[in-house]
Symmetry: C2
Subunit: 341 residues, 2 copies
């Protein structure tokens, strides 16, 4: 019987979710804090981050049990970022429901995000019984660096919007994505999983290079899904990125290749992207992205980065014996650019 990638992803997600639930259940005040947090963390995400951590731990010789507290901490941190990002971006939907600040108002949601950003460290501190104080110190240091890189990446991206920055290249985009997305989405889970599984022996630099390529492929596909999905099957706001004026590879490509009149329209639209009522303008930007090949450009870009990830994978995991966990990790590379949600 072959275990599919989806089944394995599911199993890792379930293990991390059970651990995570311990940290937001039964505490006071329930109203206005822990109950909204419990409900939010129960909304099912893809579970990619805990899976990366747990599979990497296994691939390097550890067990799910060794790293499940770290996987839970990563999911808590992810939820914290989602809640604050949605406030910062004015997003209205998240995981198929209302964003938290839409449901509870900005003050309660902001504070709940603060709570998660703190609570995510609690499993790490408790984990000293599981992996000892030396390894715990190394894991906490990984979280610390990651959290710093993430807010830096977020500041860069918010800054582009505030300053109406338009002259961006794919390199600027990748640099921002490295900090804002890859740091906590792929590099942190991979590095902490490898640290624990190998008991400190793994080459974390090689792991980080793989994580960057994997995370960049993930993020570009995420951006593409925003404009090619069917809203009925999409858990976020369709065209949400376009509405926000988000500097995706597609927008960067469009601004470079559009004819002057089209470019002028897009520039004007991006500068005024806080006016959300102009739905036909949003549609026109998406149509232009299609017309000028910007979506194809991003899709190709993701495919080439996935190729890089394949090479980096061999470098990072070359010393690992074959295992179901290793096969799962290898299969995640094409999955990143194939996924439809």
């Amino acid at each position: 019987m072959t275990v599919t990638l989806d089944e394995r992803l599911d199993a890792y997600r379930t293990a991390a979710a059970a651990e995570m639930a311990r940290y937001v259940a039964g505490l006071e005040p329930r109203r206005h804090l822990y109950e909204p947090l419990r409900a939010f963390t129960l909304r099912e995400g893809k579970g990619l981050r805990p899976a990366l951590c747990l599979a990497t731990c296994e691939a390097f010789g550890g067990t799910v049990e060794d790293a499940v507290h770290v996987a839970a901490a990563i999911e808590l941190l992810h939820a914290a970022f989602l809640i604050h990002d949605d406030i910062e971006d004015g997003s209205e939907k998240r995981r198929g429901r209302s964003a938290m600040h839409v449901e509870y108002g900005v003050p309660i949601a902001l504070n709940a995000g603060d709570a998660l950003a703190t609570l995510c460290l609690r499993p790490l501190l408790d984990g000293v019984d599981r992996i000892g104080s030396r390894m715990t110190r190394a894991v906490v240091a990984e979280f610390q660096c990651t959290m710093e890189r993430t807010v830096e990446g977020q500041a860069v991206e918010l800054g582009w919007r505030v300053d109406d920055t338009l002259d961006l290249s794919p390199i600027d985009y990748l640099d921002m994505v490295l900090r804002k997305t890859c740091a906590y989405t792929t590099i942190l889970p991979l590095r902490t999983g490898a640290l624990i599984g190998s008991w400190g022996g793994a080459d974390l630099g090689a792991i980080a290079r793989f994580g960057f390529a994997l995370g960049a492929a993930f993020q570009i596909q995420d951006d593409v899904l925003d404009v090619v999905s069917d809203q009925a099957l999409y858990a976020k706001d369709l065209y949400g990125d376009v509405r926000e004026g988000k500097r995706t590879l597609m927008l960067i490509h469009l601004l470079e290749y559009a004819a002057p009149a089209d470019r002028a329209f897009v520039e004007e639209f991006v500068a005024s992207s806080r006016r959300r009522d102009e739905e036909h303008q949003v549609q026109r930007v998406v149509a232009l992205m299609r017309e000028y090949g910007s979506i194809d450009f991003a899709t190709d870009y993701a495919a080439r980065i996935a190729d890089t990830a394949r090479v980096a994978f061999d470098d990072a995991f070359g010393g690992c014996a074959d295992s179901p966990a290793l096969s799962f990790l290898r299969a995640l590379v094409p999955f990143m650019i194939r996924r439809r949600s």
Copy 2:
């Protein structure tokens, strides 16, 4: 030559500020993140929190050098809370200037607050070279508990506003203040200072009891200053608490003792406290607080809590030899309720 309380407060503040500056200087991106943070953390606060930490460390036999990284971490955490609180409360002034979200917009300010809440742990991790890993672990655990209590207290207070809760007693107020204010303002600095100064030997329970009384006296006086200060000398919005409908001891007293017609007016005002334009209504609430003795009630309450703090001080610091640091801490008790800013 006698060193005054203000001079000593100043010296502690300066030591912590120099240490703190190391953690927000010279990093990228400056624009939209580290530069706003540097400017914000340079705005001079009272410096009460680092002084409590450093003086307590000295009183128990340690040096300023032993705990200055912790004092800096506490100030960074405090700044993080201020930035997010001002967004949640819609406050416009902070430390004599615009609140950060007024100056930079909510997204940049929210993210900058997240950055500080993360950065505050960095000096603690670096401090392992200074105080070793066992003591560092204990200090990190103190921060973790404190941050959890603070967001819980904030949730309780925000909840009162969201739910238009009016039937509150002074006990409800004290319970909220214990978590929202005392945990990080007094208890954390005192406990971490005592931990480090005594090398783990101090009675942290007694220290926490003193911290609660000291912090409650501080907060009640803070609330009183909101309605009795001269705006020219006040670094925050005068009557800001009244405008927000904040459940202070004064409001709780007023709701209990006002004649039915006055009470109905106050209830209506509090329920509609998001309408900020009605300046004459704000003035009337303050006038009623004066008329019904609510301000005197709060002032008396603070004085009685300061008496409790005096007793708790002897219990907490009874084993310490006389020192300038100990005298400073003793003098802080009357200072809390005497201060005018």
